[in-house]
């Protein structure tokens, strides 16, 4: 395959930009059109979400992994190199978005002509604004019946201070006015400010794993040049590599001789795991160390879930599926864990709920694995006051993931819970219900303002664990889908946390212990007891099901004993059936967990522990 020569594109002819938008406003469709117009891909009906390569992305209509594409376009006699960096479009991935943006000098901000500005429009705008990028506002879907571009232009002016005449009205689906967007990219977005004479400084803004060639890192050059044979180093891991191949993405891989400052492409350098090419990392030449690019963060999980195979015999299969799936997703944290009820498994950390759902879906679709997902937990902290514990842990502040690790109140001076700052954009008729919902979730209002005559933006500080299960669903359902939600990490706050135990006839069930805020304990305890009552089979004696905090019982259900359980008649063919049933029951004794004298079948734990299905 012939290698391209990238030296024909001086820095002044390069434009690096991204498309940012709220979910479903047409980011990926616009990307499809841009690829077509520039001849990067041929124009056919089949171009839909070209940059979304994962099945799960295509099915859910979302972008999970950032892709880039280099487009070539001639405008007024000059050949331009336009690097489009497609970004993940979901709140869970704001860190990835911010890293992609740091490789750009401008963005196209797409807003749906009917829906108008939504929570993520705002969130992404601020990311771009803070990075001091040029912003080209584009109003999309003008072909649809309910489009009201004028209203949206006013919103944009009010909220973002961008004059209405700068907005470009397009239909990405039909291609209307898309060419104008390209021209604005060239005219409005400045070229990158960098020099090929400088030492190499490359930003990693994504990476994928290829079984034959190893890790393929997406890079943007902030200085210097890079080619095969160069010896480079990662600022984060300090590991050294020799470059095997460099190239651009169109959007398929296209090797080149070199990549120059200001350009965007990919690199293969013998890295074995994606953890070696983390998003935000800086690569430079061994002989010429540079200051790493700012803003690098290790992926921080926001939501945890226990993941267990349906049956322990599937453990190894699940283990290898997880290993392979995380090859391409270094932002999932994996810790081995085990539960008395569910056997050996893992506690996984995700960037958010969507991340977790997508992960689970990929496990099913790409690896044919069904798993048990237990309710997510968040990383609580405790500030220790007991000298003994401080010595044991080696520090005075610990992170608690597993309820079994929860240190007692006497040894702790303060418990902390993670919080997020949430942004809700909603039509004003739902304000009342939403405020009630937020209060119910222990949130504190930080801001409220009208963004136009109809819509309100609310900012609340939420404890993270109040939103990780079903807040989004509740919000959508009480606003008939109109309200939108986005959030960002807001550090930790003091919290009145307790450990709630579940007892059966006085004996604690370790698997069901939970860490919970004192205010919510009673309701949660009651619910758990009720669920248990429905799932534990009756036995020959009464069973007291209790939720307790320390010695104090806060909820209780009673499961009465069997007084009659014998089949009235048993003759002929009945006998065979009866024997089968009884033997199956005898078999399942093997899997029973005995708590004191109470027999609890495994699936009772599963039913109580698993996440509620999406309503």
């Amino acid at each position: 395959q012939e290698k391209l020569d990238m030296s024909t594109y001086p820095v002044e002819s390069i434009r690096n930009f991204s498309i940012i938008a709220h979910v479903d406003h047409g980011k990926s469709t616009l990307a499809d059109r841009l690829l077509e117009i520039t001849g990067t891909i041929s124009k056919t009906d089949r171009n839909k979400q070209v940059l979304d390569k994962l099945q799960v992305e295509r099915e859910r209509g979302i972008t999970v992994k950032a892709q880039s594409a280099s487009l070539f376009y001639n405008h007024e006699g000059i050949n331009y190199l336009l690097n489009l960096i497609d970004t993940p479009g979901h709140v869970d991935f704001s860190y990835e978005v911010s890293r992609s943006l740091s490789a750009c000098q401008g963005v196209i901000l797409v807003v749906d002509a009917n829906e108008g500005i939504q929570a993520q429009t705002v969130a992404n705008f601020y990311l771009a604004f803070e990075a001091q990028l040029s912003i080209i506002p584009v109003i999309n879907k003008i072909d649809l019946k309910n489009a009201d571009p004028e209203r949206v232009e006013k919103q944009i002016e009010k909220l973002f201070d961008i004059p209405t005449d700068e907005c470009i009205r397009i239909s990405a689906k039909q291609g209307t006015n898309v060419e104008k967007v390209l021209q604005q990219v060239i005219e409005k977005i400045p070229p990158p400010q960098c020099n090929t004479a400088d030492p190499l400084k490359a930003l990693v803004f994504d990476s994928t794993f290829d079984h034959y060639r190893g890790v393929v890192a997406n890079i943007a050059l902030f200085g210097g040049e890079i080619a095969k044979g160069h010896k480079i180093v990662s600022a984060h891991t300090k590991k050294r590599y020799e470059v095997n191949e460099v190239g651009i993405l169109t959007p398929d891989e296209q090797p080149t001789h070199k990549l120059y400052a200001g350009q965007v492409g990919y690199l293969i350098a013998g890295m074995k795991e994606v953890a070696e090419a983390q998003i935000g990392d800086t690569l430079f030449l061994c002989k010429q160390p540079v200051e790493p690019l700012p803003g690098f963060k290790s992926a921080k999980p926001m939501v945890f879930a226990g993941m267990y195979p349906i049956d322990q015999t599937e453990y190894n299969n699940l283990k290898s599926a997880l290993e392979r799936l995380t090859l391409n997703d270094s932002s999932v944290t994996v810790h081995r864990d085990s539960s008395l009820a569910l056997g050996a498994g893992w506690r996984l950390g995700f960037l958010g709920l969507l991340h977790m759902e997508v992960f689970n879906q990929r496990l099913e679709q790409e690896y044919d694995m069904s798993v048990i997902l237990t309710a997510p937990t968040v990383p609580y902290k405790a500030v220790l006051s007991s000298a003994k514990l401080i010595k044991e842990y080696g520090k005075d502040q610990i992170t608690i993931i597993n309820p079994a690790q929860f240190p007692d109140k006497l040894s702790v001076s303060e418990y902390l819970e993670p919080t997020v700052l949430g942004t809700i954009v909603t039509p004003h008729e739902y304000i009342g219900k939403i405020i009630t919902l937020c209060q119910d979730r222990r949130a504190v209002q930080k801001d409220m303002l009208y963004i136009d005559e109809n819509r309100v933006m609310l900012k609340y500080l939420f404890p993270l664990n109040e939103i990780v299960v079903d807040f989004y669903d509740a919000l959508k359902s009480l606003s008939s889908g109109y309200a939108s939600f986005d959030y960002e990490d807001a550090g930790y706050q003091s919290a009145d946390l307790i450990k709630m135990d579940i007892l059966l006839n006085g004996n604690p069930v370790e698997e069901l212990a939970t860490i919970i805020h004192n205010d919510k304990a009673h309701a949660a305890g009651k619910l758990l007891c009720e669920r248990l009552k429905e799932t534990i089979p009756r036995q020959l004696f009464e069973i007291a099901i209790q939720a307790a905090i320390g010695k104090k019982i806060i909820a209780r259900e009673t499961l009465k004993a069997y007084r009659k359980n014998v089949v009235a008649k048993c003759y002929g063919g009945d006998i065979t059936r009866r024997m089968k049933l009884l033997k199956r029951q005898a078999e399942s004794k093997r899997l029973m967990r005995k708590i004191g004298n109470v027999e609890v079948p495994r699936d009772a734990f599963i039913r109580v522990l698993k996440r509620e299905p999406d309503k």
Binding site: Q539, L540, K560, Y562, R563, K564, N565, V566, V567, A568, K569, C570, Y571, G572, G573, D574, I575, T576, R577, R578, M579, L582, K583, Q585, A586, E587, S588, K589, R590
Partner: protein, 403 residues
């Protein structure tokens, strides 16, 4: 024990999910020929030498003519030894129990009668449901009140039921049994107490009492599910069973099987698990075997099979020694006598009851809790244990499997 089935009824009771059919006309001659043929074939195949009990079930066997009954009995007597003292039981519905008919059955060789004496009814019978995949010898549960009879869809009145029992007792004294259901939707403790009293006044020396189970697919189950009829709480059902036990024992009955009570006479073989009266085939040196059979259910198909191959048994599976022991345990514990050491020894010459259940384990725990007894008489349930037998069996089976 041969159990010929007469798979037809005039009407389907609302709780019934047995293998029975309501048809406008029955070709009695054809059915008779098939019953005869099947009896001959099965006896020959099983190599049984002597028959101690014959049970005519169904459907409503009393709808068959005495001639058919006679023909089947003749066939049995010809294929194996049918001693004079053998039990020949016929199930009967009060609406087909005129004195002459019953006498006819007696002449044909029947010497025991089992009459369903349903009580109260309120709803018409439903259409026949799909046949189930096993043959069951059903004893139609009964009660003694017209309103209940209607709810259960029975086609006779309480007065007719009473008359039928009296007639039967005249012809088969000491050998008439009545069947009674309890736990009917909406039934109260008091109503049941009255039933028991009425039953005691009417009965001979054997009563079968069955707790109504709402089987999927029956009209009654559908009504309860809809909320048209109330289901009874577990505690009430337990109380009713306890009441029956207490009342009947006080009246001199022996509660010898989960659902069966008898006084004065010995316990009829037909209700006792098959192994108790030699329903196993000796094979070789002292080994025994038992089979699990699945019958063809639908009459037309059944008749075709009998005509072509001599019987309508779909499959026969010989049970392994462990499977036989499991059945022995499951069925044996349903009786008050339980499983004797001797009986256990027939099936398990190497491992005694003591060896299996005497060591520390599930059985020992159940004994300590008062559900089970293991002593010189064998292994059996206490009265309380009998009521919850199905909760004890998985533990015991598990213990047996581990040995």
């Amino acid at each position: 024990a041969p159990c010929p089935q007469w798979p037809y009824c005039r009407k389907r009771c609302s709780y019934c999910n047995f293998n029975t059919y309501v048809v406008p006309a029955v070709d009695e001659a054809a059915v008779r020929a098939c019953l005869v043929r099947e009896a001959q074939t099965l006896l020959r195949l099983s190599q049984v030498h002597s028959v101690s009990s014959v049970f005519f079930g169904g459907g409503t066997p009393s709808l068959a003519s005495p001639g058919t009954v006679a023909a089947v009995l003749e066939a049995v007597a010809a294929a194996a030894h049918l001693p004079a003292g053998a039990e020949v039981t016929l199930e009967a519905n009060p609406s087909s129990t005129s004195a002459s008919r019953l006498a006819g059955f007696g002449a044909a060789g029947v010497n025991r009668l089992s009459i369903g004496v349903q009580v109260r009814g309120a709803l018409p019978a439903a259409a026949p449901t799909a046949p189930r995949d096993a043959v069951v010898t059903a004893l139609p549960p009964q009660s003694l009140d017209d309103a209940e009879l209607r709810m259960l869809g029975r086609e006779h009145t309480a007065a007719e039921a009473r008359k039928a029992v009296e007639t039967a007792r005249g012809l088969f004294p000491g050998r008439t049994s009545i069947d009674l259901l309890f736990g009917l939707p909406g039934q109260s403790r008091d109503a049941w107490a009255r039933q028991l009293e009425a039953a005691l006044g009417l009965c001979d020396d054997h009563i079968s009492l069955y707790q109504l189970t709402l089987e999927r697919g029956t009209a009654l189950a559908a009504q309860v599910r809809r909320g048209a009829l109330p289901a009874l709480p577990q505690d009430l059902l337990a109380d009713m069973y306890q009441m029956a036990h207490t009342v009947l024992v006080a009246a001199g009955f022996r509660h010898y099987e989960v659902s069966n009570f008898a006084r004065k006479v010995g316990c009829p073989r037909c209700y006792v698990p098959p192994w108790a009266h030699g329903r196993f085939v000796p094979r070789g040196e002292g080994g025994h075997s038992r089979e699990a059979r699945v019958q063809t259910l639908e009459p037309v198909a059944w008749m075709q099979e009998v005509q072509s191959q001599g019987h309508g048994t779909r499959s026969r599976v010989v049970l392994s020694p462990l499977e036989q022991l499991e059945e022995l345990l499951t069925l044996g514990l349903r009786t008050d006598e339980g499983i004797t050491h001797k009986r256990w020894g027939h099936f398990s010459p190497q491992l005694s009851l003591q060896a299996v259940f005497g060591a520390p384990g599930e059985a020992r725990a159940l004994q300590q809790q008062g559900w089970l007894v293991l002593d010189s008489g064998g292994l059996r349930c206490t009265w309380a244990g009998l009521a919850v037998l199905d909760s004890l069996l998985p533990d015991l089976l598990w213990q047996l499997q581990r040995v």
